[in-house]
């Protein structure tokens, strides 16, 4: 012990006025490696590293594998499904399924219609949710807490509970009789709106106990984009409560001093919001946009509800048409291969989400950034 201490004593090699150069006697390489790699600390680190890597890779596999198998399944020729030796890599590549789905359905039309619907609702939802969340996060006024509670409440009620009354609401859309007033003369105000029967007023169809249904002039908004747009404008569409909650937490993390300095410089509330707060929250807004866009894109529930018998072709119709394509394609194959059926269904799904995959590839960077900057706190 003592001897070692003496050995390791630093030796002053050179001493000038300003500098002192000291050289320690170095421990031999073997000793150093031993100390570094044979410690429990290092062992723990390695074990943990491997464990983490295996876990992450494994779960990535679980996430990615279905997509991989769907894609390979979609380009397999029918005979590959009967062949037991073919499992994941197709032997005979064919794009018949894609072609069939493309021609059987008005894919392009469905694509443009759904794009229009999703972009408009997602943009509206993003901005409205930003507005509401900013108001809730940064302004103290009476009823703030109550409104936040209402937001959470609107998130909590399942849409299935409200589906009947919601569809009824938009079949006979009227707010405080305004629509009836505007529509009273039977003048077509906006070409998009469709009427319910004008001659209804003459017929006595009103049940005694339901006086709210008197207006025969209310508008039928179903089979148009309006129900979803109206819901988006009010921040009441699918999962908007979640967006408002997320954005509210984000805005709470933005320091007040930022706005205060803007106010002192003479900027108004709106201008501060648009020129200072919004640019700050772009990653978070893209996150919300990504969610609302893709959830609207693959939505089935609201489309079924608001487009009961429509000529507007949407992505949902492609999904519903897949069985007809399926039976057509199955006619060309002599045997009934259930794997082929699955592959056809999956291809339909792939074609529906293909635009989302492309979008995700470009936007995931912002999604990750949005998470990193959000700094949620739950108080």
């Amino acid at each position: 012990m003592n001897a070692q201490n003496i050995d390791n004593k630093p030796k002053v090699q050179k001493e000038t006025k300003n500098k002192i150069r000291v050289e320690f006697e170095r421990t031999p390489l073997k000793e150093r490696l031993k100390a570094k790699f044979l410690s429990t600390f290092f062992l723990q680190k390695v074990v943990f590293y491997i464990f983490r890597l295996v876990l992450l890779v494994g779960i990535s596999y679980i996430v990615l594998f279905p997509f991989f198998s769907k894609i390979t399944g979609s380009i397999m020729a029918p005979e590959d499904f009967a062949d037991a030796t073919v499992r994941l890599i197709p032997k005979n590549v064919s794009f018949d399924i894609y072609k069939a789905i493309w021609t059987d359905n008005a894919y392009l039309e469905a694509f443009t219609n759904t794009l229009l619907l999703s972009v408009s609702t997602a943009l509206l939802q993003t901005f409205i949710c930003c507005f509401v969340a900013y108001g809730l996060a940064k302004f103290k006024f009476k009823g703030n807490g109550l409104i936040f509670l209402a937001v959470i409440f609107s998130l909590t009620i399942p849409h299935q509970t409200l589906q009947f009354s919601m569809s009824e609401k938009f079949v006979n859309f009227d707010i405080l009789g305004i629509m009836q007033f505007l529509n009273g003369g039977g003048i077509n105000i906006l070409g998009i709106f469709k009427y319910t029967n004008e001659s209804l007023a003459a017929i006595d169809i009103i049940p005694d106990s339901w006086e709210m249904f008197i207006d025969g002039y209310a508008m039928n908004l179903t089979n148009t984009f309006w129900p979803l747009i109206v819901l988006s404008i009010c921040g009441l569409a699918f999962k908007n409560g979640l967006y408002i909650f997320m954005l509210r937490q984000f805005f709470r993390g933005v320091p007040d001093e930022l706005e205060e300095s803007a106010y002192i410089d003479g900027s108004g509330i709106m201008r501060t919001f648009f020129t200072i707060i919004l640019p700050l929250s772009v990653p978070m807004m893209i996150t919300v946009f990504l969610f609302s866009f893709s959830w609207q894109w693959t939505d089935e529930f609201y489309i079924n509800l608001f487009f009961p018998g429509s000529d507007t072709v949407l992505m949902d119709d492609i999904y519903r048409n897949v069985p007809t394509t399926l039976s057509k394609l199955m006619d060309t194959v002599d045997t009934d291969i259930s794997l082929y059926k699955t592959a056809i269904r999956n291809t339909g799904g792939l074609m529906i989400i293909a635009p989302l995959i492309v979008m995700y590839l470009f936007c995931q960077r912002y999604l990750i950034q949005g998470i990193e900057r959000s700094g949620l706190t739950a108080d």
Partner: protein, 322 residues
Amino acid sequence: MTTDVKIKAPKKRRNASLDKRKARGGWLFVLPFVLGFVLIYIPIIIDSIRYSFSLASYADVAGAPMNFEFVGWANYSNALFEDANFVQNLVKGLTDMVMDIPMILIFSLFMAVLLNQKMAGRAVFRAIFFIPVILSTGLMESIEASNTLGQNMGGADGIDDGSGQSTAGDLVSTLDLQQMFDGMAVGQGLVSFVTNAINNIFDIVNRSGVQMLIFLAGLQSISPAIYESVQIDGASAWETFWKITFPMISPMILVNAVYTIIDSFTTNSNVVMNFIQNIYGQSMEGKGISSAMAWMYFLVVLAIIGIVAAIMSAYVFYQRKD
């Protein structure tokens, strides 16, 4: 003295007006939601409650509003006592939920902690883990469901379509796991819980995306200074997690628990919701009954949320900010 007062007076007034202006600004920001909530959402809710107490029938003229006849509690008693499947489905749906929620919470917290560490390829893993949030919803869920159905009927195996069973079947066989656990002296319930979790791993990964996001964001907000000081004090990673990360993230656990409950009972794959959806589509009488069922289910779930929130909020730790 007099000059002092003169200076003070306008200053006070300006302060008050700024507060007022800010309050008005706040109202302006939340106005779209408030208007929509009061004018559209509340009427919809009231209508829905009314419908659950009434019998709907088509109007005499096409395009006219439907007729509604008030029938009192008939829909509710029909759902509870006459429908053979509703109560059964309700119980099944609730037990599923109780099983799923801890699993989703544990998994998403665990993954969030992993994804929060500095390592090579972190961005790639994050991007992969959030794929299901974007892509496995709505229509895709329905396609998966119809695949599983077709597979069960066709008895096909081989190609994995990500319908859950086959994925896990490829990775580990449930039987092996059960054998492994049989040797240990743990309860049968725990064994089935764990094997269930592994069988449903695809489902769980799919459903814990938003939760992971919320947890990750919560983890980001923990000050690095705390970790630094703990490290200096010589705490191990295990201790750091339980003494620092867990309490600091506990508010997020509450938020996520509530969100998971809400999410799991509003998704399309939910047993009860599917059942209600079927009833809704079947007939006109079904519309009133389905409204009644949905309201009952909602109240039960609301009660569960209340209980969970009450229990958890007793243990939640809020950092005091000064």
